[in-house]
């Protein structure tokens, strides 16, 4: 092993005009790695030169037809070129590759080569030509797997950054759409792009995101999840304050509302900053479908969320504390079902809640063919037999099933609701309805203190913004939403037209 420091000192250097020593230095820095291709040849039978590229990262056709063929074949029948003009001649007259840049710094040349470009080094020249030739194989653009839609675009991000940026660029054809490049990771040197629309995203939001991303100092970034955790300001809150999506249309819509996106090379998920609480209840389809049904679904989602976090707590309250709240008939049915079960309600519910989380975790990680089997064993066999053997009451099974189903309605809120459910349940188990209210107040106060990137997380509910409620619990028709959300600047989104259809005259 060579000492590391030696490599670093070489890194800072510029190229010399001696091809042989240049290649030696580069070979040393690259540790003679097996996937590096160095091809030496003569240009026009007189000038020594070499190309440097990485096998598997370059588009071989580009290297073959736009670099090697012109250099080896056509250079011979050109007229005589003076020595000192050879670089210019190659660049202007010979090479047919689309993008060629000059570079002198060794470390920068190597970064480019490792990213998939081809470097052309010429003897007696202290400048290398960097020929754009990136062409590595990527996954094709496919349908989103975690955000399935019935209506709307069906493409999703892939792992390649440039494909992802092109997907956004194709949706927002505007010169103000900016992709700011940042390289993160001391070892991995991952390309990261900050995406926003200039003049539309709040300037201090963009600055804050940029500042925090540039301050990141880690060895490697493999997914947007790393960035999310490194820039969020409430790491101990159960609520995520940055969102992620794998659909370009969703990210484009968020950017258009004034948010900032972050794309990471190698990650099919884009970050959107900031994430507001109500956003978790919104899906892209809400906007593609007609407003009445979308609003209905929105309300269903809010109700489901409440059910999923509060139903075990309310069950315990009803069984152990305030049975008088149940209508008499229901109370009798309840008492019959619960009678004879050996454990108090609190223990029953804790066991079942734990059980359902285990079942879910088992189902998610299983290979696809085994997943349903786990579900069947878990839910049918164990649930059914637990009731018939008299270990737990039937109403509890219904409550737990309801909790589980409602918690899947909003996948983006699953993490939060699992933790909230535990909190509400524990408080209710000890203090009954007072515990439920106290824990609700705690959560609400906590939510009100969340200010990701200086933007109130609970907007437009806390602080209340009447204007923005049009897109919260309901999804009002598009022509009502004339402005962008107030928390994100509130600039005008559309003019007076389109407007609601005029009513026909009364007859």
């Amino acid at each position: 092993m060579r000492p590391r420091t030696k490599g670093v000192s070489i890194n800072q250097r510029h190229l010399t005009s001696d091809l042989k020593s240049n290649l030696e230095i580069i070979k040393t820095i690259l540790n003679e790695s097996g996937d590096i291709i160095i091809r030496e040849f003569l240009i026009a039978n007189q000038t020594k030169a070499a190309i440097l590229c990485v096998d598997g990262l370059v588009n071989k056709e580009v290297v073959q037809y736009s670099v090697l063929t012109p250099l080896l074949v056509y250079s011979n029948d050109g007229y005589w070129v003076p020595r000192y003009r050879i670089k210019e001649y190659l660049e202007k007259n010979l090479l047919t590759a689309e993008d060629i840049k000059e570079n002198r710094v060794i470390s920068s040349i190597i970064d480019k080569v490792l990213a998939g470009d081809t470097a052309l080094l010429i003897d007696k020249e202290d400048t290398a030509l960097i020929i754009s030739s990136r062409g590595f194989s990527t996954r094709a653009i496919s349908e989103p797997s975690s955000e399935a839609v019935v209506r709307g675009p069906r493409e999703s991000f892939t792992e390649a950054l440039r494909i992802n940026t092109s997907l956004i660029r194709r949706k927002i054809i505007n010169p103000n759409l900016v992709f700011e490049s940042v390289t993160l990771g001391k070892v991995t040197k991952t390309a990261v792009n900050i995406v926003y629309i200039k003049g539309l995203a709040k300037e201090n939001l963009v600055q804050e995101v940029r500042r925090r991303i540039k301050e990141i100092d880690v060895d490697g970034i493999f997914d947007t999840g790393y960035i999310e955790q490194l820039i969020e300001e409430h790491p101990y809150s159960p609520f995520a304050t940055t969102g992620y999506t794998e659909k370009p249309d969703v990210l484009a819509a968020k950017i258009l509302e004034g948010r900032v996106g972050v794309l990471v090379d190698g990650s099919p998920n884009a970050l959107s900053i900031p994430l507001l609480f109500v956003e978790k209840f919104q899906t892209s389809e809400d906007y593609y479908s007609r407003p009445l049904f979308s609003s209905f679904i929105r309300i269903i989602r809010f109700i489901s969320f409440l059910i999923s976090i509060a139903s075990p707590a309310i069950y315990v309250i009803l069984v152990s504390f305030q049975s008088e709240l149940l209508p008499t008939q229901l109370l009798v049915t309840f008492a019959n079902a619960v009678e004879g079960t050996p454990f108090p309600a609190v223990v029953e519910v804790s066991i079942m809640m734990l059980f359902i989380e285990i079942l879910r975790e088992a189902g998610v990680r299983m290979p696809r063919p085994i997943g349903p089997a786990v579900g069947i064993v878990g839910s049918l066999v164990m649930g059914e037999s637990a009731v018939s053997s008299g270990l737990i009451g039937q109403p509890l099974v219904i409550v737990i099933a309801l909790t589980a189903i409602t918690s899947y309605i909003i996948p983006t809120l699953y993490d939060e609701s699992a933790l909230l459910r535990m909190l509400l349940f524990l408080f209710s188990a000890f203090f009954g309805i007072i515990g439920l209210v106290s824990s609700t107040i705690l959560v609400l106060i906590h939510l009100a203190t969340l200010q990701p990137f200086g933007i109130p997380f609970m907007s437009p509910i806390m602080p209340l913004e009447g204007e923005d409620l049009k897109d919260t619990f309901v999804r009002a028709p598009l022509w009502f939403q004339k402005r962008r959300p107030k928390a994100l600047g509130g600039s005008v989104r559309m003019g007076d037209k389109p407007s609601p259809p005029e009513e026909s005259e009364e007859i």
Binding site: F321, Q322, E324, L325, P327, T328, F431, G432, I433, I434, G435, V437, S438, I441, L442, L444, I445, H446, A448, T449, Q451, G454, P456, M458, I461, M462, P463, L464
Partner: protein, 360 residues
């Protein structure tokens, strides 16, 4: 981070929720029965007068709290003594609100739970929110005000079928002394308690804007209070003075097709939200006052120990609901009148005199 801005709606809601806090449950002037509204109206008139004085005082030195004003008026030593008196009053008020809470819960919902447990839970929640600052509290109070309005109106609508207008007869009261006596009580609790807001007025904004919203908020509270009192009288009539929690009893009578019954739990929920906001505001003001009087850097480390004292005192001072109500109705007013009226007027006059003589 940007400095916290309080919107008009937030100030209005804080004031309204603060005034409605305990009154949702414990009707002011309850022992007057059907004439309670008269003493509420009279007390509100007095309160508006006092609000005028508070406004004049706040306008003398905008951005300064009552604690700073006291020191300006009476000098460092006497001012600090007066401030300590204010702090004790704020402390007692916090204890009283928490005790109202705890006594209510221990008589109606968690009957067998020791009151120290309940008060510790509530004070823990209050302490958490006070540590978070006034802004989240203000934002939450908007939601609580909406919840309160919805509860008050819907309970009223659901109970209309057993309204009896005859409960208001005779319209003219015969015993005006009792009404005037109660006016005093109602003024001290809840209206005069708004003195708490003088402890952090500067935080809310300019006096002009704040007082406009404070008066709007108190009018809103008055309307809701009257609605509650009228509703309870129409339903309970002569039984009203006999009950401890008239709104609770009223809601208990709701019965719509055997399905919506025993709605009193919604009143209880609403009360807990309101009482929580009220306790947090008094507690916040207390902590800020301590910070200003003793020139501390931050009040946050005070929250837990003072909170423990509040919980302990709620248990020691008011072990039962009877003692709580007795103190509330009989003694509280004599004590509260000093910081609510006398000291404020004194401070105002001294400051005015000082300003005048300085101008000459």
């Amino acid at each position: 981070m940007a400095k916290a801005q309080f919107t008009n709606g937030q100030i209005i809601s804080m004031v309204a929720v603060f005034l409605l806090g305990t009154t949702i449950l414990i009707s002011p002037g309850q022992n007057l029965g059907k004439y309670a509204y008269l003493s509420i109206l009279l007390a509100f008139g007095l309160f508006l007068l006092m609000l005028g004085f508070y406004y004049l005082l706040a306008n003398l030195e905008p951005k300064k709290s009552i604690f700073a004003l006291n020191e300006m008026a009476f000098g460092k030593i006497l001012g600090t003594l007066i401030n300590i008196f204010y702090l004790i009053y704020f402390f007692v008020l916090t204890v009283l609100v928490v005790a109202n809470f705890v006594n209510f819960i221990n008589t109606t919902i968690l009957i067998r739970t020791p009151d120290m447990v309940t008060s510790s839970l509530l004070v823990a929640v209050v302490a958490y929110s006070v540590r978070a600052g006034l802004k989240p509290l203000a934002e939450l109070s908007v939601l609580v005000l909406i919840l309160t309005a919805v509860t008050v109106v819907s309970v009223t609508l659901m109970i209309t079928e057993i309204f009896n207008l005859a409960h208001f007869l005779p319209l003219i009261p015969s015993d005006w002394n009792a009404i005037l006596d109660n006016t005093f009580t109602v003024f001290a609790f809840p209206f005069g308690e708004l003195i708490i807001f003088l402890g952090f007025l500067g935080v809310l904004g300019k006096p002009d804007k704040v007082f406009k919203n404070v008066s709007k908020g108190s009018f809103l509270a008055l309307i809701m209070m009257l609605l509650v009192v009228f509703r309870n009288t129409l339903v309970l009539g002569d039984f009203l003075p006999m009950t401890t929690y008239p709104s609770f009893e009223t809601a208990r009578l709701i019965n719509i097709a055997q399905v919506i019954t025993r709605a009193e739990v919604f009143i209880a929920l609403n009360f807990i939200f309101n009482g929580f906001i009220k306790a947090s505001i008094t507690f916040y003001s207390l902590c800020r006052g301590l910070k200003e009087t003793f020139r501390l850097k931050s009040y946050k480390h005070l929250v837990l120990p003072i909170g423990a004292l509040v919980a302990l005192n709620a248990h020691l001072s008011f072990p039962t609901i009877i003692q709580n109500i007795y103190f509330n109705v009989e003694f509280y007013r004599y004590y509260a009148i000093i910081p609510q009226v006398i000291l404020v007027l004194l401070t105002y006059l001294v400051l005015l005199f000082k300003k005048r003589s300085a101008a000459k």
